[in-house]
């Protein structure tokens, strides 16, 4: 690791020591943050995976039912049946702070009539009813999945970024500072020694000269 390009003065030494202190403290904090983020990430990602498996399974069933319904009735009949849905799915959205990452959070807002089926039961088959009721039951889970999947995405991003910061501090910044401080200390010591030697030398020269003039 190379040393920084600085003047070996006491002022610079003091400044670098302060910087080192900040860097070490920052490194510790970031490392703690990273640990906690990974712990949370594990929790979220487990839930994410379980939820996704569940949603994918149930959604596939519901869509298969829907396909079946389409196969039994004519396309036009189905499209007419659901052309004007009686319910409206709406969201209230906000962001939540998880380890200084702003992740989305939302709650579904119920609206429209209580009647889920916008068609008369006479016009289509029961598969459609089944598929629609499963789907509407699934919507809550799907939204939770959306929320948690995004959280995982963003946490993973942040963990990666944080890791880079920790590594930069640990393997570049801190060794560099330590080495520069060592260099300055050595240089200062060296200067001090040479000053002492010079004084001793001058003193002996004076003593020799005084001895000569006295005799």
């Amino acid at each position: 690791m190379s040393i920084m390009n600085v003047n070996p003065t006491r002022m610079e030494l003091r400044r670098l020591k302060l910087r080192l202190k900040t860097a070490v403290r920052g490194h510790k904090l970031l490392k703690d943050k990273s640990d906690e983020m990974i712990r949370r990430f594990m929790i979220y990602v487990r839930e994410n995976r379980a939820l996704r498996q569940e949603v994918e399974k149930e959604l596939s069933f519901a869509l298969k039912d829907f396909m079946l319904a389409r196969a039994v009735s004519s396309d036009a009949a189905i499209e007419e049946a659901i052309a004007l849905p009686s319910v409206k799915a709406e969201l209230e959205t906000s962001t939540v702070n998880v380890m200084s990452v702003n992740v989305p959070s939302f709650t579904a807002v119920e609206s429209g009539t209580k009647e889920l089926y916008p068609y008369s039961f006479a016009s289509v088959t029961s598969e459609l009813d089944l598929s629609i009721s499963t789907l509407s039951g699934l919507l809550g889970k799907m939204l939770r999945l959306a929320e948690i999947e995004k959280t995982c995405n963003m946490l993973a991003d942040e963990i990666e970024k944080n890791k880079r910061r920790v590594n930069a501090l640990e393997y570049v910044m801190i060794p560099q500072l330590e080495e520069t401080i060592k260099y300055i200390t050595m240089k200062l010591d060296e200067n001090e020694r040479s000053a002492t030697i010079r004084l001793m030398k001058v003193k002996s020269m004076i003593a020799v000269r005084d001895g000569q003039t006295e005799s």
Partner: protein
């Protein structure tokens, strides 16, 4: 403020969502889907997209990954899941931890 939810995908898969009050945008191919996503990303907070299409426009979806909204979620299409959603979770884990140590054992 209230926000609507959008569903993007092939017509067979997304029509069902219309019945439960989501906004449905059937798409035909990749380019169509890209345009639709770009347009919807401005107005919708949550967009569900069938994994078959999500898979083909992965690069476009990556752009939206790092901000809180819109949330774009792959869902299985009528033909069933192709594993794209699970792949996303796996890549998240790999990004955060370095390797998929959590679930690699359970899958085998």
């Amino acid at each position: 403020m209230h926000n609507r939810i959008a569903v993007v995908g092939d017509k067979d898969s997304v029509l069902a969502f219309k019945a439960i009050g989501l906004e449905v945008y059937p798409t035909l191919d990749e380019n169509d889907a890209k345009d639709v996503i770009k347009r919807l990303a401005r107005d919708y907070k949550v967009i569900f997209i069938t994994d078959k299409i999500a898979c083909s426009i992965d690069a476009t979806l990556k752009k939206y990954k790092s901000r809180p909204y819109p949330v774009i979620v792959p869902i299985p299409s009528a033909e069933g899941s192709n594993g794209f959603g699970m792949q996303g979770i796996k890549s998240d884990i790999e990004k955060a931890i370095g390797s998929d140590i959590l679930f690699s054992r359970e899958d085998n």
